[in-house]
Subunit: 228 residues, 2 copies
DNA sequence: CGCCCAATTGACAGAAATCAAACACAGTGG
DNA sequence: CCACTGTGTTTGATTTCTGTCAATTGGGCG
């Protein structure tokens, strides 16, 4: 099933121009804030948002829910390259085609921003250009961090993953995991069994607690990050 | 020992302005080609080019030789994040500080381009801006590819590495490896012994030949890339 | 309530790390 | 010129870790 096209972002945002001041030197063009005020689209659990090889027309923002981006190797193995939670952007591509696929992990609301619109606006709006660069930098850092995790052993990988999720979730030490163990495994280059075992070990060592399978509480952050 | 400061790129390039046409709409400012015509600096084997945490003042290009970029974890493990051969750029940072270290693998000639100069020029020179984005995109792709390699098993990692090196070296199937086994191991998240063993296995299977330790000949590319 | 899928746990096999030793080669000094 | 030394590479034996296969448990939803 092909993805439905987003309601024309350009038209919608024009209606909002000139409220919410910010960068209003170009009264007829929307700024960053206006782009983000468009109406999000709903994707149900496991729905494809875009696929590897498809033309990359949009940049996306998770308004609510969670998203995974991944690559499927020719032998069927899946590598998850990133998880994206509420407020985070994904789908940024440098070329004209997606080099990854993206799916909703849970029922999600996703905002799409047309790249062609963004490109035009960036020509005259320094903030938009800055934001775009910032996103690219963020993606690069994300990929580098991911690579760094993948040279570690299983326990260290899971620990890093938990710390990463904790740092993104606002509520301190309580982590809510929207994704299944298989997703975590494919992200960390491990098997579900290993992920499960490591979590079991961490709980046994009183480093974490697991009220439910999808909720983790950090009890001893120090012991999770010996390799800071 | 602290790094010697590069001879002022800005001054040197001014002397060359207006030869080699290209983007000469700004007669007093050098273009991309002029930036690359500056005099390279020599670094001897294992010399540090920049260190993690230092201010990132320059963008670098390998004129001759080879460079490794890496991160040292708090427990001493080293992750090599990339190898850079003649003609390739490295040291691109999004922030103001380096997040990696870089060393010459062999005696090398390295060209440095001051970021501040680049930033000023990019304001008015579309080509320079385009080149900068292109480099950032290249870095991102590199990091993503690296992450993809790290979820594979030892044999696959080494195979991917050989193919990567082969694709960068012009001479088809003959690969010259400027780096030691330890470098390869740290790049692939393996140990030297494992790298050595896999190479031995590949040679025994007649997939590669090794005239010397630092030279590899691809005999059967197909068997190296089953997981294209 | 029962089904189904996700998660866990256990037993075992296979892969890679570790520890140890032999070997190759380049540069040095006699 | 050759022996010597030091580093880099390879090979071997063993241990540790992770994957695989299989069975069991648990939780959410119809």
């Amino acid at each position: 099933m092909l993805r439905k096209v987003a309601p024309s972002t350009a038209i919608q945002i024009k209606q909002r121009v000139l409220r919410d001041g910010a960068a209003a030197e170009q009264p007829l063009l929307p700024g960053w804030a206006e782009l983000l005020a468009a109406v999000p689209i709903k994707y149900s659990q496991n729905a494809e948002i875009f696929g590897d090889g498809q033309p990359a027309e949009y940049l996306y923002k998770v308004v609510d829910g969670a998203v995974r981006t991944f690559k499927v190797l020719s032998d069927g193995r899946r590598q998850i390259t990133g998880f994206f939670l509420s407020g985070e952007f994904f789908g940024l591509e440098t070329g004209n085609e997606h080099t990854l696929s993206a799916e909703a992990i849970t029922n999600s609301k996703i905002l799409s921003i047309k790249r062609s619109v963004l490109a035009v606006l960036a020509e005259h709006d320094k903030e938009i250009e800055r934001r775009r660069l910032e996103l690219a930098a963020c993606e690069l850092k994300r990929a580098q961090t991911h690579a760094t995790v993948l040279i570690l052993n299983a326990k260290e990988r899971v620990a890093k993953f938990l710390l990463e999720m904790a740092s993104r979730n606002p509520k301190g030490t309580k982590i809510e995991l929207p994704m299944a163990r298989l997703d975590i495994a494919d992200y960390l280059g491990l098997t579900v069994e290993t992920v499960s075992r490591v979590l079991g070990d961490l709980e046994a060592a009183n480093i974490i607690a697991r009220p439910t399978a999808r909720h983790v509480v950090l009890r001893d952050r120090g012991k999770l990050s010996p390799t800071a």
